[in-house]
């Protein structure tokens, strides 16, 4: 579904991604694990068009999308839930959800998806007329995810959905991620909580200082000594 081939991405003169290659297949949950600043968010931003790769290719359903404008990529079915949620705090929950469907014109389908978001996140229905800035962190995460789903994405990019949330809420969010995946949405998940990410993922990549250093199925990586030492807090 998505193929990233040997991309290099820079912030000014600083190289953030060094020859990264990865692949995501239809229906999978793939996770990227790695320390702060390893380049995980940079990779998501490059896929969603916020950053341009200097070279290398991003292929989505066989077509090159590397370097395209973000709005064109959303239209093709990739939605990105950014780190820190980035909801529009000055607008209501409903307006945020409507903005998620900005490019769509099929009123009936939008309504259907709105209902689906309410089923996944009943909290949002209760707070529909409330300003997004008044929501709790967990509710804002739900809103950010609901907003992304309103574009009816085929591939959902999630950046640190557990950040700053209470453990119980993290569990809820991850259960919902699995539910979203079960309805046919492919997921690329960036997560610092490697234990949790590996527990729901099919496959995983380990990112270190802009490079992919390890790849495999979730089971393989969970039992890998190197991953245990560095990311799972094992001995």
């Amino acid at each position: 579904m998505l193929k990233v081939e040997d991309i290099n991405v820079y912030y000014g003169n600083i190289q953030a991604l060094k020859g990264v290659t990865l692949e995501i297949n239809q229906g999978e949950i793939v996770t990227l694990i790695g320390a702060n600043g390893a380049g995980k968010s940079t990779l998501l931003k490059t896929i969603s068009g916020l950053l341009k790769p200097k070279n290398g290719q991003v292929l989505y359903e066989g077509k090159s999308i590397g370097g395209k404008q973000a709005q064109a990529i959303v239209k093709q079915g990739i939605s990105h839930v950014p780190e820190g949620r980035r909801v529009f705090a000055n607008m209501t929950v409903q307006e945020n959800l409507e903005l998620g469907a900005f490019l769509r014109k099929d009123k009936a389908g939008m309504k259907e998806d709105m209902e689906r978001v309410y089923v996944l996140f009943p909290r949002l229905l209760e707070r529909l007329k409330q300003q997004a800035g008044t929501l709790s962190g967990g509710e804002q995460q739900m809103l950010a995810m609901g907003r992304a789903l309103m574009a009816r994405p085929k591939l959902l990019l999630l950046d640190e959905p557990s950040m700053g949330l209470a453990p119980l809420l993290v569990k809820t969010i991850f259960r919902i991620i699995e539910e979203i995946n079960a309805t046919g949405t492919t997921i690329l998940l960036v997560e610092q909580n490697a234990n949790l990410a590996l527990s729901i993922a099919d496959r995983a990549y380990v990112v270190e200082t802009g490079r992919i250093v390890l790849a495999g199925t979730a089971e393989e990586l969970t039992s890998s000594e190197k991953v245990k030492m560095a990311y799972l807090g094992g001995h």
Binding site: S48, G49, L50, Q69, A70, Q71, V74, K75, S79, H80, P82, R86, V87, F88, A89, N90, M91, E95, E98, L99, G100, F102, L103, R147, A148, A151
Partner: protein
């Protein structure tokens, strides 16, 4: 009674400030730029209105609409040529460019048609005196106030109910997140310039109708005062610009009424100094802390 008339005059003048201030505040809200050329768009609007009336023989409302449309296009051209290439430059570079654009428009206008004054025809709008509770008010003042208020209401509807309005609010809050929604940020910024400039064009025609005299440097002082009005209300906040403009007009009228009409212009800048010292976020602004 004298005071009441002064207040009505103040509100009429204030509504012109408010129309100009809206453009300042909308543009600042979305690209964080004080567009110092905005007062000159107001001047260009006044001239387009003038020529529509005198050359094309149009009445007030068609002239108003033509001026608004032409200024909208003019604003977008300014944005595309002068500001868009500086989107990622330092803010001071954009600010200096804005001052340069302002000087260019003023002197360009003088180059094209000379620096002489023109006078709007005085019979554009009915100018009877209407008696309200024994106070006589010029019907023009009321019409001008009415037109300004209608334009502001239309703006509110655009900003809150339409798709482009929602895109504008989203981009001004978080441009990167707006991109992830599929919003075209460049087009949204252009639309903001178009709407702000159209309001300035309308203000120009209204100003000419009310104050008669227009000339190529007429935008300087109202432009600066509208900037004060935008800061007074809280820069970047649309209702703030409306209230700030009306309030500034009232303050000027009261200063005049108190017998200090020569100090009227200074009053606006005293307000600016006081606001910057005591309430830098403006009347409607929240003291925002950057979230990490």
């Amino acid at each position: 009674m004298e005071l009441f008339q002064q207040l009505v005059n103040g509100i009429s003048l204030g509504s012109i400030y408010a129309l100009i201030a809206l453009g300042y505040t909308m543009v600042y809200g979305i690209v964080k730029l004080i567009n110092f050329a905005h007062g000159d768009v107001f001047m260009v609007g006044a001239f387009i209105g003038f020529y529509s009336i005198t050359v094309l023989d149009l009445s007030f409302f068609p002239a108003l609409l033509i001026s608004m449309a032409a200024c909208a296009v003019f604003g977008v051209i300014i944005e595309r040529i002068a500001y868009k290439p500086l989107r990622n430059a330092t803010r001071i570079a954009a600010l200096i460019t804005a001052i340069g654009v302002s000087l260019m428009i003023e002197n360009g206008m003088i180059f094209i048609r000379g620096a002489q004054l023109e006078a709007y025809p005085t019979n554009l709008l009915p100018s009877e005196n209407i008696d309200i509770f024994g106070v006589s008010i010029k019907s023009q003042s009321l019409l001008i106030l009415g037109v300004s208020l209608v334009l502001m209401m239309i703006l509110q509807i655009i900003v809150h109910k339409t798709k482009i309005g929602k895109a504008m609010r989203a981009v001004s809050y978080d441009a990167e997140a707006a991109k992830l929604m599929g919003i075209n940020v460049n087009n949204t910024i252009s639309a903001t310039f178009a709407i702000g400039s159209a309001l300035a064009g309308a203000a120009g025609v209204i100003f000419g109708t009310y104050y008669i005299k227009i000339e190529p440097l007429m935008g300087v002082l109202p432009g600066l005062k509208a900037f004060v009005a935008a800061v007074l209300g809280g820069i970047g906040i649309i209702p703030g610009a409306m209230v700030g403009g009306l309030l500034l007009g009232l303050i000027e009228a009261l200063v005049s009424a108190a017998g200090f009409s020569l100090w009227r212009d200074a009053a606006a800048f005293v307000v600016l100094i006081l606001i910057l010292i005591f309430l830098p976020q403006g009347l409607f602004g929240k003291n925002k802390r950057e979230k990490v």
